[in-house]
Subunit: 113 residues, 2 copies
DNA sequence: CAAGTATATACGCATATACTCATACAATGT
DNA sequence: ACATTGTATGAGTATATGCGTATATACTTG
């Protein structure tokens, strides 16, 4: 897949895991919330509307996958996007979906806008 | 995410679903097998080493997600990659992983060569 | 040390889904 | 109509994982 070379079983599982990490709405929400800079957990809880425990768990999942990075400052922990390909990935998927989304969902943008 | 615009809940679920479809090694195997052109189910069963029923189900999942397309010819059904962003997606993910994969997995390419 | 705040984790439940087996469906030939 | 070949699907089981509640850990202050 890297340049269309076939991947072995272990590499396939790693790639699949990568996609799986991105396959949760809450995690995508967190990624979105971090597009404009790092935020601490409490802020992310407020922005996403999730439970603190759940948000924390998802942040750990994203960090373990090297998609996010942590920075501890006193009591707080700030998360940021660590993988520069993530925005591109999301754009690519959204662009590909945009065509069919128009039929399925009506609008892509948030209800507010 | 499309150009960094926040997505609403429904759009997030659709994007997440998209990633989820790509989050299975067998489905990635099938996608890889189709990079060099369309193949029928029996050929894909042989190439992936999966059970026919399982391969068929994964092909349906990929087709429903508009990642693959079907073409029926007599008894056989030929599948092909329908979404041109798929190869780019895979390259992007593999490229991003390549850096860390070198430490984790050793090799990215298949054992067969 | 005690109290308070911010974040992480353990546990249990509910649900989703991948897998296999058996079988149904579709198309072709005799 | 029947047999054969290729593909799809239903049922049952095992596993993975998201979520909420409760609790633990880390850090700061007094």
């Amino acid at each position: 897949m890297a340049r269309q070379l076939p991947l072995n079983d272990q590499a396939l599982e790693i790639v699949a895991r990568r996609f799986a990490v991105l396959a949760e709405p809450m995690r995508l929400r967190l990624i979105q919330a971090l597009f404009d800079g790092e935020k601490n957990v409490t802020a992310l809880v407020g922005l996403t509307g999730g439970m603190q425990a759940n948000v924390s768990r998802h942040l750990q999942t994203l960090t373990t996958a090297h998609i996010l990075a942590r920075r501890k400052e006193g009591l707080q922990v700030f998360y940021r996007i660590a993988d520069p390909t993530i925005p591109k990935l999301c754009e690519l998927v959204c662009g590909s979906l945009g065509k069919s989304l128009a039929r399925q969902a009506g609008h892509l943008a948030a209800g507010g806008g």
